[in-house]
């Protein structure tokens, strides 16, 4: 217990994000209307700087600040995912904000703060720390969801997310209180130690684990805690939806793995089958309901639920291989889903109006380049070999079978086939239906192109040559 050992390097990325976020916010009134998008580039530079500062952070492994803060490979890999998500989201939002006349750079500040919250969640070794990160992330996201102030749907989205999110935070706090009562600590390692001794009231611990599990399941949107997702995703501005579908999800899983595999492994028999059922239910519900969605944002919302189900399969494997597969999948999923949402942002045009799957009719003949890129993301989300989505699913099912979760793997692959239906129906619209729209007002500015290139290249790279990243996730999983 020595607060004097302040280690700047260990928290450098979080620090960079926070400082840049504050700078963007403070600078806003001093920047002319025309130059406001420059602040977006400043925020983008901030995420790149944070990514660079991962290097000094990675050289400072260990626990810092009274064991509140942990730096390990797991943390570094997840931070990389979070920063990538933030960077791509900033690139996607710049044009969107200009188009919707919402050019308020505090959007970028909020995004950077949310990302800082995610970094804290991945690095925390302590439940109270997790809660701090979770709240920083959530509050920033509530505001972002309601960013189109004049739009009723956006307001509804923010309010719903806020009410249900607060509720789940309360669950989380309750869980922390109970575990503190049972073990006398909120430090994950201390909890794990305490659980190994016999004097623990196991029912109290189980209740607390259940409350924490429910709160986090809400954050990652797995069934049966997924009901808020479609409405919130539909109403939020499209780039924010993209961010919400990957960022908080990845952060939530980061905490789930950390908390349950560090603190609660000794009572695995009590939560293992719950995860099994959550995974199975999520894959089935997400994929089946996505089939009937006419609105592409809702369809992608249900698809994001389904993908959380696949990560939950890796969680149910409760092995290092499972964690490694989940980390790989989170990266792959983030890239392809952000790419898909970037395309939705482009096609939806003024006021986020054209968001039905049928609005994509004939895109293949009018804008073949855009259609090809969106097809790549759809095929990858569906899991066609050669794309990141397939590699990720392959690793997850491999981990599941290694842990002998045969039925979970079978449910997983069969629901994958269902998912082919709705992903391919986007391709059907683009290539096999007659265009009733010229797509002449579809603009593609530099930042969006950049975002699409990053996501598409990443999707292909992870699909064709996954070895290098997989090796990285394997070391990250061993912690």
């Amino acid at each position: 217990m020595n607060l004097a050992t302040i280690n700047i390097a260990a928290i450098l990325p979080t620090l960079v994000l926070s400082v840049v976020g504050i700078v963007v916010m403070v600078a806003e009134p001093f920047v002319g209307e025309q130059k406001k998008s420059n602040l977006g580039w400043l925020a983008f530079a901030g995420t790149l700087a944070a990514m660079l500062s991962l290097v000094p952070m990675a050289n400072n492994r260990g626990q810092w600040y009274s064991n509140l803060w942990i730096v390990d490979d797991y943390d570094v890999f997840l931070d990389f995912i979070f920063l990538l998500i933030a960077a791509i989201t900033i690139l996607t939002s710049m044009d969107f904000l200009r188009r919707e006349e919402l050019n308020h750079p505090e959007f970028y500040s909020l995004l950077l703060f949310a990302t800082a919250g995610m970094l804290m969640m991945a690095a925390s070794n302590e439940l109270v720390m997790v809660f701090l990160g979770l709240e920083i992330l959530s509050i920033a996201t509530y505001v972002m969801a309601g960013f189109r102030r004049a739009d009723l749907k956006s307001n509804e989205s923010a309010l719903k997310y806020f009410l249900l999110g607060s509720f789940s935070s309360a669950f989380f706090l309750y869980g922390i209180a109970l575990i503190f009562g049972a073990t006398g600590s909120t430090n994950l390692l201390a909890i794990a130690d305490a659980l190994r001794s016999s004097k623990i009231q196991i029912s109290l611990v189980s209740l607390s684990a259940a409350l924490i599990l429910i709160a986090l399941c809400f954050k990652v949107a797995v069934a049966p805690f997924h009901v808020w997702t479609p409405d919130v995703y539909e109403g939020a501005p499209t780039p924010v939806t993209g961010f919400m579908s990957v960022g908080p999800k990845a952060a939530g899983f980061a905490v789930l793995f950390r908390v349950f595999l560090t603190a609660f492994p000794s009572i695995e028999d009590r939560w293992g089958s719950a995860i099994w059922m959550v995974a199975a239910l999520t894959m089935i519900l997400g994929n089946v309901i996505a089939v009937v969605q006419p609105n592409i944002k809702r369809m992608l919302a249900y698809s994001s639920i389904a993908h959380a189900g696949y990560v939950a399969v890796a969680f149910a494997a409760t092995s290092d291989r499972g964690v490694s597969a989940a980390l790989f999948y989170l990266l792959a999923y983030s890239l392809m889903n952000l790419g898909a949402f970037a395309m939705v942002t482009i096609i939806s045009r003024k006021e986020d109006k054209l968001v039905n799957v049928t609005d994509y009719a004939g895109l293949g003949s009018k804008r073949p380049g855009l259609a090809a890129v969106l097809s790549l993301f759809m095929l990858s989300l569906a899991g066609v070999p050669g794309t990141a989505g397939f590699a990720g699913k392959f690793f997850i099912f491999r981990a599941a079978l290694e842990s002998r979760l045969v039925w979970l793997a079978i449910i997983g692959v069969v629901t994958t086939v269902i998912s082919f239906y709705y992903y391919l129906s986007v391709i059907v619209q683009m290539y096999m239906r007659e265009p009733h729209d010229e797509f002449s007002d579809v603009r593609l500015c530099g930042s969006l192109k950049f975002a699409l290139v990053i996501s598409a290249a990443g999707t292909l790279y992870l699909g064709l040559l996954p070895t290098r990243v997989l090796d990285w996730t394997t070391t990250a999983a061993l912690r």
């Binding site: 293992g272 089958s273 099994w276 059922m277 149910a316 003949s365 073949p368 095929l379 066609v384 070999p385 050669g386 397939f390 392959f394 099912f397 491999r398 079978l401 290694e402 002998r404 979760l405 045969v406 039925w407 979970l408 793997a409 079978i410 692959v413 069969v414 994958t416 086939v417 082919f420 239906y421 391919l424 129906s425 059907v428 290539y431 096999m432 996954p466 070895t467 997989l470 090796d471 394997t474």
Partner: protein, 625 residues
């Protein structure tokens, strides 16, 4: 001995890579073409496919017929930490299937002259499809095989969905979803096999030859229940692809809606991937269960032969007729495969080539007339022989080849299959032979209605005969029809060594297996009678099924297993065969289903270490008694 020049060695070890990826490289190059240059895109695509064909001729020229193993092997680590290699090779079984692919694709491209819409994308997908198909036949790594197997669906999906007929979207979606559902289960089985092999031998690899030799040499032993599950997963993927009755419903839709070139490749090559999978994977990897299920599968094949022929007979649409005739012909192939005789297997492989050529040609011919009249309904035609004599002659030869006229290619394959089957089961062979007669009925009847008589429909009065391009695409097929009919040993000889090796692998250990299986089943029964579920199951022995269980050793399957010879099955009725096969299935699967019923995380015993000890224990108990 002389040392070969350097460049020959390079070609020798990389020829499969070159053949497989020439079309894909061509597809990439087409991307750089201006879409306005339709003519040069067509020519370029044709040249690329011809190039791939020429490269594949090298395989035939250098193929060593006396060697039963894989040749032209290439193996490069792809994802070493997972045991996944880029590994390819051909043996006598896959050699001519690759040739068939490279031969049919240029012809299909010649048949694409009516495509004018989005030409560039069309040829890109055609070329990618060819790469995928060759890759399926050439890959020797399970992961690589699966990648090709799945990736190939996407170009076919686009070919049907974009350039197809009226109900093309429905047909394309049905095609993808149907084939996908089978293949994802195969993926699970592949990963399971990977772990089972890895846990038993210590090397985690997806290499097909390694896993196969571990199974053949006994270093890896699968328990009956696991072998059954793996077999079912693989079989479902292949049976849907074949398609075996009753999994055939996607085929007529896909065929009718696909553009001509798509139908040619679908019938000519894609369907062969299913039968190839049965020969390459199901038989050598799961020989015991294959033998056990052979009667059931053969029966499905025979039903498919008759059913396909009868449905073909009443089709008003020529393309649909040919599609259903495919169901019938593919039944012959499956029948030959599951006869487990050298004649049957070689006949089946030969029939794969025949069907590719004859049915491919039929689709080409139907495409020719469709380009002229934009209809395929038989009643629209009549008397075409008067207006298009050359066309009628070509059509006649192909029709006769499809029927199996002696001297033409179809005869050799069907004869060998029937010969192989007859040695095993007279009834099946006799019923299948009925299919040959039915095929003559529906094909000749169609020919008669389309070609003969007077021209009564005015729109047929001014039809032009075959143009130079159309002759160019049909002549190679006619040459193949006569060549394969007259000089079949040229094609059969390279198969001999590999097929013999395959048969030896599948025959080994059958007799002991029957004993093992009986021991295993009785162990399962005893274990179950201790549990509540087991007790409820036990009461079943009062039911007819239960009784048939007890008397199983007297049932055809029991007997055939014990005698190690499939020849004695003819005595039992078909009903009995099915019932006992289903029974063994139920016996083996119930223990695996039990944990699922209790809704708990499942620990299906993946490691052979779990099940065999049970076998051994029970065996010891029995021995001590």
């Amino acid at each position: 001995m002389f040392s070969r020049p350097k460049h020959m060695e390079f070609v020798g070890s990389n020829i499969l890579t070159i053949v497989t990826f020439t079309p894909a490289a061509g597809a990439l190059l087409i991307l750089f073409y201006n879409r306005a240059h339709a003519r040069s895109i067509r020519t370029f695509a044709l040249i690329i496919t011809l190039l791939a064909f020429v490269f594949s001729l090298y395989l035939v020229a250098r193929f060593d017929s006396s060697n039963p193993d894989f040749q032209f092997g290439v193996r490069v680590p792809w994802m070493p930490s997972l045991g996944i290699d880029y590994s390819m090779g051909v043996d006598g079984i896959s050699l001519f299937l690759i040739l068939l692919t490279t031969l049919l694709t240029p012809l299909a491209i010649l048949a694409s002259s009516s495509i004018n819409d989005r030409l560039r994308e069309y040829f890109i997908f055609m070329l990618l499809l060819e790469s995928g198909m060759i890759g399926v036949f050439a890959s020797l790594d399970f992961f690589l095989f699966y990648v090709f197997w799945e990736v190939m669906l996407i170009p076919m999906y686009f070919l049907i969905g974009v350039w197809g007929g009226e109900r093309r979207i429905y047909a394309a979606m049905k095609f993808v979803l149907y084939t996908m559902i089978g293949s994802v289960l195969m993926l699970v089985a592949i990963i399971a096999l990977y772990f089972i092999h890895g846990n038993a031998t210590g090397t985690f690899t997806f290499s097909y030859p390694q896993i196969q030799s571990a199974l053949a040499s006994g270093r890896l032993v699968l328990s009956p229940a696991i072998e059954l599950w793996l077999f079912v997963a693989f079989f479902l993927a292949f049976a849907i692809k074949v398609p075996l009755f009753p999994f055939h419903t996607w085929l007529p839709d896909a065929h009718v809606e696909a553009p001509t070139a798509g139908s040619v490749l679908l019938a000519g090559v894609l369907l062969k991937m299913g039968t190839y999978g049965l020969v390459r994977f199901s038989l050598p990897l799961f020989p015991h269960i294959s033998h056990l299920f052979a009667p059931l599968i053969s029966m499905l094949a025979v039903v498919g032969i008759i059913y396909g022929a009868l449905v073909a007979m009443v089709q008003p649409d020529m393309k649909k007729l040919v599609a259903y005739s495919s169901v019938s012909h593919l039944g012959f192939i499956v029948l030959g495969i599951f006869s487990f005789t050298i004649q049957g297997l070689e006949g089946a492989i030969y029939q794969m080539l025949n069907h590719g050529i004859s049915t491919g040609a039929l689709f080409l011919l139907v495409g020719v007339i469709y380009d002229r009249r934009h209809t395929r309904l038989i009643e629209e035609f009549g008397g075409l022989a008067n207006r298009m004599p050359v066309y009628a002659t070509f059509f006649l030869i192909v029709t006769l080849s499809s029927i199996g006229l002696p001297g033409l290619n179809g005869f050799v394959g069907e004869f060998l299959v029937l010969l192989g089957t007859f040695g095993v089961n007279h009834i099946r062979a006799a019923v299948a032979a009925l299919g040959v007669i039915l095929s003559a009925v529906y094909m000749l009847w169609m020919y008669q209605r389309v070609m003969w008589g007077r021209v009564e429909n005015d729109r047929n009065a001014s039809l032009a005969d075959l143009a130079g391009r159309e002759r160019a695409m049909l002549v190679p097929i006619l040459i193949m029809i006569f060549w394969m009919g007259m000089y079949s040993s040229y094609f059969l000889r390279p198969m001999d060594a590999s097929v013999m090796k395959l048969l030896n692998q599948t025959q080994a250990g059958r007799v002991e297996y029957a004993r093992d299986l009986n021991t295993f089943l009785s162990a399962q029964r005893r274990a179950r009678s201790a549990s509540p579920i087991g007790r409820s199951l036990k009461t079943r022995s009062a039911s007819p099924i239960g009784r048939s269980l007890k008397t199983r050793s007297a049932s055809p399957i029991g007997r055939s297993l014990k005698s190690g010879c499939a020849g004695s099955q003819q005595a039992g009725g078909a009903d009995e065969v099915v019932r006992s096969a289903l029974h063994v299935f139920a016996e083996l699967t119930t223990p695996a289903l039990q944990p699922f019923l209790r809704l708990r995380p499942i620990g299906l015993a993946l490691r052979p270490a779990v099940a065999p000890p049970l076998l051994c224990e029970e065996g010891n108990v029995l021995a001590s008694k």
